[in-house]
Symmetry: C2
Subunit: 282 residues, 2 copies
């Protein structure tokens, strides 16, 4: 099992067939769209037009999980679950493992090759969730991004003091926490206390909290950056909220935790966004 | 008070004097190196050769805080504290606020202008800590980075479903958690339990933890990516550990928390790195 690049094969390399992809170790299954294991993560995916809900924006894509599909009509006939190959992509997300992406000619996208298959390089699984697919059943969805700037190494020069030689530590990015102007506002409203646990991280020189968008920013969710879509959370509850372990009911009681969300009078938390977030987890 | 860009002034703009910087609102003090307030963060800094411990690598710099210096000799004669202007830079770090950076001709660096002052654009305060300066007293230090890739907006297209128009949400990056191969190893050793609190974040589809480098990677610390320099922490304790609220003694008892660090027999936590980390907080 190889996570990451296959030596000698550059992004952009083309292949005539699934067999050729297999022989090159790029995608080591002849039929399945996802190769990987639940525990070790996903090795590679192939986009080949099998799922009507896939969205391809080039360096960013919304990929549909495996299962629940009628082989003949290719339509969804049952809900998908985070299990087996879908679980492999979840593990890739939680552990920041890169996934090889291959596009086939039958995948309807301007980024597909005209014939055969093209290796598109490494992507990160930025987020996973569930959503009703075009055919009405729940599908597992994954936002994958190819972002070379987030794949950077940390280069280290000769230290002034220790005289250690130049070397590089290979790093990947596990988590990027973004902030907005309104994010700062919601953190001040709660004086950096987590709305779930009340915890306030007291760092040297000041408190720290994170602003969480209930309905996520960016494609495909397009959540708005408004106060009604923001929460002030500690990093732990932010991770749990973004990754399906914690949802908030309309009365602010918690699915996945005891107690209630602390909500101030002048904080118009929007139940439409809470409902959207709950729907992301089936 | 203006945090961020000053309208009409591009990175690279040059100024004859401190007075000209002041009149352009780039740096609104005629003498101080740091402009800002403890609560709102730092607006701008000027590098002008005043501190012997400054290090300038262009898009990355190690900046020395204010205070404890003899005006005549420009040498440190007392310890610095995270207070006043230094505190402003800490707030900029904890709240991900951009800081305008100006280099003066007297700042010894290949990135300085030959005469006068040059505005170098916006930097982020990536990290803050204390260290013994060249003159033997503790100085406050700040790692600032200019990284346009981390300053990106999230662009949003017309949503398929909602028909909302194209718009952009301005975001900044509050926190980037990097991971390495050995980071994955230390997380598996502890089965994703935090070595400080024992907490394990149970996400949909799997657990989540973060690997923390005791002596940080990268300049100027150049900590090694080895098992003896790594801890498995929950996000909350990672933030506290990186920002001065938690240190670990040689016997694994905690400064800044009750209890002891959980350390497995086959995890050779290096006391030299623990000492280095403690020294970062005076």
């Amino acid at each position: 099992m190889t996570i990451g690049e296959i030596q000698g094969i550059e992004s952009g390399a083309t292949f005539e067939s699934r067999r050729a992809l297999y022989d090159a170790s790029i995608h080591r299954q002849l039929q399945a769209g996802i190769v990987g294991s639940a525990s070790a993560g996903a090795e590679s995916i192939v986009l080949s037009g099998g799922y009507v809900d896939d969205e391809d924006y080039g360096d960013e894509m919304i990929y549909t999980g495996h299962g629940g599909r009628d082989p003949a009509s290719k339509r969804q006939v049952a809900n998908q679950e985070f299990a087996r190959q879908n679980q492999a992509l979840v593990t890739s997300c939680l552990q920041a493992l890169p996934v090889r992406v291959v596009r086939g000619a039958e995948h309807r996208s301007p980024h597909s090759p005209e014939t055969g298959y093209r290796y598109s390089g490494l992507y990160w699984v930025d987020r996973y969730w569930k959503a009703p697919g075009t055919d009405g059943f729940l599908v597992c969805r994954f936002r994958l991004v190819a972002d070379p700037s987030l794949r950077g190494d940390i280069s280290e020069d000769r230290s002034k003091n220790s005289g250690t030689p130049t070397r590089r530590v290979e790093t990947t990015v596990l988590r990027v926490v973004r902030d907005t102007k309104l994010g700062k506002h919601v953190k001040c409203m709660y004086d950096f206390h987590c709305q779930v646990c009340g915890n306030r991280l007291e760092c040297e020189g000041g408190p720290y909290a994170e602003a969480a968008h209930i309905r996520p920013l960016g494609r495909p969710h397009n959540g708005p950056d408004v106060l009604g879509n923001l929460l002030c959370l500690c990093p732990n509850h932010h991770v749990l909220f973004d990754n399906g372990a914690l949802q908030i009911n309309d009365d602010f009681s918690l699915n996945g935790g005891a107690g209630r969300l602390d909500v101030q009078r002048d904080h118009p938390v929007d139940q439409v966004h809470l409902q959207y977030h709950r729907s992301m987890w089936g």
